[in-house]
């Protein structure tokens, strides 16, 4: 468990955007370094490669790249660390990992499951609640 970060006490808020950025990179490095462990625990080595997992983690981080408030970044990092801890502690199962992170990404699983049916309304409905 040397590579997981345990937030037993909440660290003080980031003073500046720069410090928040550094924390994001530290979190990303911790996640990348625990990728081999994750692949062993859930035996997903025949589904994804480590570099694909790395790019998945990076894309998740990039989803929030537009945030500029350091406190919001801290909160997101907290949630991310919690998620990473859950995964590494084997609190999840293989189908959680695959469903949440691997499937549905066009680079990894070509979208063969979605047949071209349904109207525009249905497509929007499947995508999100609000449209």
């Amino acid at each position: 468990m040397a590579s997981t970060v345990k937030y037993l006490r909440v660290p003080p808020n980031s003073a500046s955007l720069e410090e928040a950025r550094r924390r994001v990179f530290d979190f990303f490095k911790t996640a990348c370094r625990s990728i081999p462990t994750i692949m062993e625990i859930y035996t997903i080595d025949d589904v994804v490669t480590p570099s694909q997992l790395r790019s998945i983690v990076a894309s998740e981080i990039r989803k929030n790249a537009h945030i500029s408030n350091p406190k919001v970044i801290d909160m997101l990092l907290f949630k991310g660390t919690e998620e990473l801890n859950n995964i590494v502690e084997h609190s999840k199962q293989r189908h959680h990992i695959l469903g949440q992170y691997v499937l549905g990404r066009p680079e990894i699983t070509p979208d063969s499951a979605t047949k071209d049916q349904g109207s525009e309304y249905l497509k929007n409905f499947f995508r999100s609640n609000y449209f």
């Binding site: 468990m1 040397a2 590579s3 950025r21 994001v24 990179f25 530290d26 990303f28 490095k29 990348c32 370094r33 081999p36 462990t37 062993e40 625990i41 035996t43 080595d45 025949d46 480590p50 570099s51 790395r54 790019s55 990076a58 981080i61 990039r62 790249a65 590494v88 084997h90």
Partner: protein, 135 residues
């Protein structure tokens, strides 16, 4: 069972090419999955005890290859030793990701301060050579 046979196939293919530095981790994989695929009782540390060959002379080429794959550059794009990552279209997260890819590829561990200072391909290759020598 299927994954055991799959990993045994990958073992046999790994033995064919001794250059692969992932050989050590492949062996470890088999021993873990053979024990009934129960989750391992102790976490394996970040694999440092790899069976790696002598340092390859074309480190820069490998770095270039990893950078190209990471940034999804077309094959005819010229990436030389002194191309900066920023120029190639990488933002800071991409740079960290490239460093992580290099860490995995070469089995090294890049320290925090040195990672911040990497801006060009040549610097990355130099750092890798230095770390490989120290091992």
């Amino acid at each position: 069972m299927a994954s055991f046979t799959a990993s045994s196939v990958s073992i046999s293919s790994a033995f064919c090419s001794f250059n692969r530095t992932q050989q050590g981790s492949n062996l470890r994989k088999v021993s873990v999955s053979f024990s009934g695929k129960s989750f391992p009782s102790q976490r394996l540390p970040f694999p440092r005890f790899r069976i790696s060959c002598a340092a390859k002379p074309d480190t820069v080429n490998k770095v270039v290859e990893i950078v190209k794959k990471q940034l999804a550059l077309p094959d005819d794009r010229q990436v030389s030793g002194d191309s900066k990552f920023q120029v190639l279209g990488a933002d800071s997260l991409d740079t960290v990701e490239i460093v992580m890819g290099l860490e995995e590829e070469f089995g090294i561990c890049v320290e925090e301060e040195s990672a911040q200072s990497i801006t060009t391909v040549q610097e990355a290759a130099d750092l890798i050579e230095e770390l490989l020598e120290k091992k």
